[in-house]
């Protein structure tokens, strides 16, 4: 197990380096500098700014400086939010995104796995078809369509919940963003759980357990759930990435001051260091969480360790 874990960690390092290098090169290959504006700066001023941000160094040196800063948790200064470092901005914004993401993921897991299991147990009944129909719809409708439609319905028309973040108080303001973010994942997880549960329920050891006289509920809980969760677990990596991406849209629509909103603002303002820093941060987060999923997988299914 230790060997497996160490190998996985070693395997994750090149991935991370690749993202950082790609992202860094993209930003620096950009035509025009970050401070090019409609108003042309005097040559001396431009040179001073470039020197202050070390933009006059050679590209390899800039990359090495960036990497050494990165290892110390320094992502450089923001080009637009003067006096803020990128790390400080991420520190300010990330807690909102984290809270949102964790709640959405929990909701998606509970509802998705629950609905999928029920659909599998009631296979080919009307209930099954309703769950699957809903889940196909959920997969097909993008987050940036669900979010405004829910806001229009529940906030503007019915006025049950606040539509925006600012001015709203309490837990109510989390409801719409979390539900929006969770819905597509609920749909995926329900489909995935149903398919794998049907597969597991057809195996011999389930029939043996039933033949011993165990009730269906016990069989599912004790024998079927764990093997049926393996495909769900391997989907968690992509699900995490999807929730981070969705969070960008949800934060933008509901006006939540999270990382996604900073990312979009940074992208539109051409705040290169901020955008680069957030990409690197997201990449590290995704790679780390994928690592956790891989290790959990090996815990649940010991065969994986010896492959």
């Amino acid at each position: 197990m230790l060997r497996y874990t160490l190998l996985r960690i070693l395997g994750a390092i090149p991935t991370l380096l690749l993202v950082i290098a790609l992202a860094f090169l993209m930003v620096h290959a950009a035509p025009g500098g970050p401070f090019d504006d409609e108003r042309v700066l005097p040559a001396e001023v431009a040179a001073n700014i470039e020197a202050a941000y070390h933009l006059d160094d050679s590209l390899p040196k800039q990359f090495l400086d960036y990497m050494s800063g990165l290892l110390q948790g320094d992502l450089g200064p923001s080009y637009r939010y003067v006096d803020y470092s990128v790390a400080e901005l991420i520190g300010l914004a990330f807690p909102y995104s984290l809270r949102l993401g964790v709640m959405a993921m929990a909701l998606a897991l509970i509802v998705g796995v629950g609905a999928g299991t029920i659909a599998a147990l009631k296979q080919d009944t009307a209930l099954d078809r309703i769950v699957m129909g809903f889940s196909m719809t959920g997969i097909s409708i993008p987050v940036f369509v669900i979010a405004p439609v829910l806001a229009l319905l529940f906030a503007v028309k019915l006025q049950w919940l606040p539509a925006g973040w600012s001015g709203a108080e309490g837990a109510g303001r989390y409801v719409l963003p979390v539900v929006t973010l969770a819905l597509p994942q609920v749909a995926y997880l329900a489909r995935l759980t149903r398919a794998s549960m049907i597969d597991v329920l057809g195996r011999d050891f389930i029939r043996a357990a039933r033949a011993q006289g165990l009730g269906m509920a016990t069989v599912v809980r004790v024998h079927a759930l764990r093997p049926a969760m393996l495909p769900v677990l391997s989907y968690l990596g992509p699900a995490i990435a999807a929730i981070l991406t969705g969070s960008v849209v949800v934060e933008e629509i509901f006006g939540i001051p999270g990382l996604g909103q900073f990312f979009v603002r940074g992208a539109l303002n051409r705040d290169y260091t901020l955008v680069l820093g957030i990409v690197v941060f997201y990449a590290a987060l995704i790679v780390a969480l994928n690592l956790v999923v891989d290790i959990l997988y090996a815990v649940l299914d010991p065969r994986v360790r010896y492959r």
């Binding site: 994750a12 991935t15 993202v19 933008e252 994928n290």
Partner: protein, 269 residues
């Protein structure tokens, strides 16, 4: 062919036909502003079938041109991913051995990348142009295709007709082109129909954030974005493009699912 395939295909044909032909049946165009009538609700009067947006532009024609842009981006991006994915997967699967291991390890590495963020970075760094969107979306979507094609090629390689071709001295490239590729068509078509909605999603996501198609050009994503800004005063600006986008995505997903079942059933029978 199941009923799902036929219904989904029919819906897609209707939407595509409406997008191509629709604007000809309207006296308006997609960028003329009408100061007499911003935010007109949908009505048959004056041929404002979907109403007008906040600048008085005709939403029917804008939506139809948006569908055109969305479909073209999706098709071209899917073709890019098709070419890269099939070439990469077939090569890895056919050559096999250490080359295959290295090539697939590389795909695994790419899988873990937060691609959508890199695409956004690309859009920020370079001026947003149409071609770049195609290429960027195609460049993210080839991974699944490469994996599927590789798996299929691995099993095809062991078949007698491939060994026969090797025996009479056909080169590697010739075998891939003449003997492997034609046998991949079925599975590639299935995954292509599932790649298209993903490409549509990425394009509309970028356009929604204002990083994709630029005004006055439009796509379904940027129309939804415009609709969000006006949703209290004029909900149809949001609901019509959103419903159309959902319809297209759903039809493609059902089509892909149906085709996969169809090919699976044919293979096992």
């Amino acid at each position: 062919m199941s009923r799902t395939i036929r219904i989904a295909g029919f819906i897609l044909l209707c939407v595509a036909a409406a997008a191509i032909v629709g604007p000809w049946f309207s006296p308006h165009d997609y960028l003329t502003t009408d100061f007499g009538g911003p935010l007109l609700p949908p009505s048959a009067a004056d041929a404002r079938y979907f109403g007008t947006d906040d600048l008085g532009r005709d939403l029917f024609v804008r939506t139809m041109t948006g569908v055109r842009v969305t479909l073209v981006v999706a098709l071209v991006a899917s073709l890019v991913s098709l070419v890269i994915g099939v070439a990469y997967g077939a090569t890895a699967g056919f050559v096999g051995g250490r080359v295959d291991a290295v090539m697939m390890r590389f795909v695994d590495t790419l899988y873990a990348l937060p691609f959508i963020f890199l695409v956004i970075l690309l859009m920020v760094a370079f001026e947003r142009n149409f071609l770049l969107i195609f290429v960027a979306i195609g460049a993210i979507n080839w991974l699944d295709m490469a994996r599927i094609v590789r798996g299929q090629t691995l099993s095809l390689r062991e078949q007698e007709f491939v060994q026969a071709a090797q025996l009479i001295g056909v080169g590697t490239f010739g075998i891939i082109r003449r003997h492997i590729a034609p046998n991949l068509v079925g599975i590639v078509v299935v995954y292509l129909t599932l790649t298209i909605p993903q490409a549509i999603l990425v394009e509309s996501f970028l356009s929604f954030l204002g990083l994709g198609v630029q005004e006055p050009q439009t796509s379904l994503g940027s129309l939804v974005n415009g609709g969000v800004a006006q949703m209290e005063a004029a909900p149809w600006l949001l609901l019509i493009p959103a419903a159309l986008l959902a319809l297209i995505l759903m039809a493609f997903n059902f089509l892909g699912d149906g085709l996969r079942d169809y090919f699976d059933a044919r293979k096992s029978s």
